[in-house]
Amino acid sequence: MELEKISDNIWEIPRQGEMKVPARFYASAHLLEIARKDKSLEQARNVACLAGIQRMAYVMPDAHQGYGFPIGGVAAFDAETGIISPGGVGYDINCGVRLLRTDYQAKDVLDRRRELLAEVFKEVPAGVGKGGVTKLSVRVLKDILVKGAEWAVENGYGTRDDLLMTEENGRMKEAESAHLSARALERGIPQLGTLGAGNHFLEIQRVDKIFNQDVARAFGLDRIGQVTVMIHCGSRGLGHQVASDYIELMEDTFGVAGLPDRELINAPLRSALGQQYYQSMCAAVNYAFANRQMISHWVRDVFKRVLGSSAGMRLVYDVCHNVAKVEEHRIGGVSRRLCVHRKGATRSFGPGRPEIPAAYRSFGQPVLIPGSMGTSSYVLVGTAEAEELSFGSTAHGAGRLMSRNEALRRFRGEEIRDELIHRGIELKSTNWRGVAEEASAAYKDVEEVVRVSDEVGLGRLVARLVPMGVMKG
């Protein structure tokens, strides 16, 4: 496909055919070469054809092909005349990341990290088919869908300060539980408070490099060697079912004729079905917020028990990676309400945005980008430029490079564990095949992804975190 080079890290597919706007890639030549090998470009071009799309279809540096929309895709549609698409959010609604800071230094934890990880592993249910500790009634589940992390805090999982440091304060207010299917609720009941499998993880890390001292300090990351905890998980089967259900309902209502890809199915945001999907998606977002909030609470409990204190284990931030939100953005100098889809992308708002916690508002929001297993993760800060460049968005991770099949052919889980231990990283997992599939060599280089983000200005580097202990689902 024809691509125009705008600068070293910016490439565009010019508007052509059915495209309503151009499609733009933020990538180094090397990352673009990788994206060209799958259907990312074709998918970005398809997104650019959708009704009401504004400015451009954007693709972040960690892109790879998804369903309908590429992973790493950002697209904004007019909130009155545009569409909403379950495929633009993804199956794992509010798959996201949160980061806890601690007052501990790596040396305080080094000898105890095996014990710490073993206790976390015991406390936080992980892996496929591992039910949550709480047997929920449908009534309580519906309460959680409406209240999100607020429900968790009200029930003793964490503090109100945690809510202030969560996107949307841990609760999307448009959430409505009435439009979720019985199947979605049934899948949600046994899985609350579980990490899940696949690429989901919990890591004990240390701050290894600080790029911007002032911003890092504002985020509570004070010094090299400081211990942090990162939690990556989402809305589990409940969110997956909401996506599947609404893809089907939209197909039944609007048909699939004329769609280049069935999973681009969408509904006008203002239509009854569009609203029902949006409200149900918000409910799934809230489920995921509650999930991460409960897991954080258990992690604090373990630190307190093993190390004597969990004081200072403040939440730095909690970000969504798969979501659609109605936000204000300026287009041609005019403020407009847009439905911004981020599928495998992180919101990256710059200074001054009212959505950002007051404590961070003069700096920009924290952006959390996990690496692959055993590699660094990054904290970035959102920028004002990003609002012009990508509706305030940047990358969400390393992005896969190699199929799970190929990873299984090349790696063995036990060997990866041994290699990590050799590098001083403890690993706990429920299954070795999953570990092999998630080998870091199966992912793109997260360093290059964050470098492009920093150079283009989508999100600027603040700190690098390296793992000390990894728990895989």
Binding site: Y67, E251, D252, E263, L401, N405
Partner: protein, 149 residues
């Protein structure tokens, strides 16, 4: 194709290389057999179906507006029964597809067992997708599906 569990002379299914997710082709002498094998392919991403006892059964009865929707809804049953009640699929009996006026209907019996410590799990399936889905009927039937994992 490292982890297809085929023990027969004819191939039940094979996994293709897909960057982020799992893509397979399931085969059969007719569409019904290919669909039965497709359910086993989905199960193989989560547990070793050929090591699961046939102790309990579940009736499956789904409709789809067209064949892709039918295939998607049917394969979702494997995931749903696992997540909602810990049912592990071991085999599919009596699968048949009926063409109705404005829909397709699939009925089958899933055999398997309840999740327990004797059955190790090795992966999760998030959803069955329409991405790259191909359905070839006839005496060498084939169903190709991408599964979000």
């Amino acid at each position: 194709m490292v982890y297809n569990s085929d023990r027969r002379s004819t191939l039940r299914y094979t996994f293709l290389d897909h960057t982020a997710d799992a893509e397979f082709r399931a085969f059969g002498a007719d569409l019904a057999e290919a669909l039965a094998n497709a359910a086993l392919a989905v199960a193989s991403l989560m547990w070793d179906w050929d090591k699961v006892m046939r102790n309990v059964s579940r009736a499956v009865d789904v409709r789809g507006r067209d064949l892709p929707q039918l295939v998607s809804r049917y394969l979702e049953e494997v995931v749903f029964l696992f997540e909602s009640e810990g049912f592990l699929l071991a085999g599919v009996d009596g699968l048949h597809v009926i063409k109705e006026d404005h829909a397709y209907r699939l009925q089958a019996v899933f055999w398997g067992d309840k999740l327990s410590a004797r059955y190790p799990l090795h992966g999760a399936v998030k959803a069955v997708t329409y991405n790259d889905m191909k359905i070839e009927e006839g005496d060498r039937a084939m169903v190709q599906v991408v599964v979000d994992v």
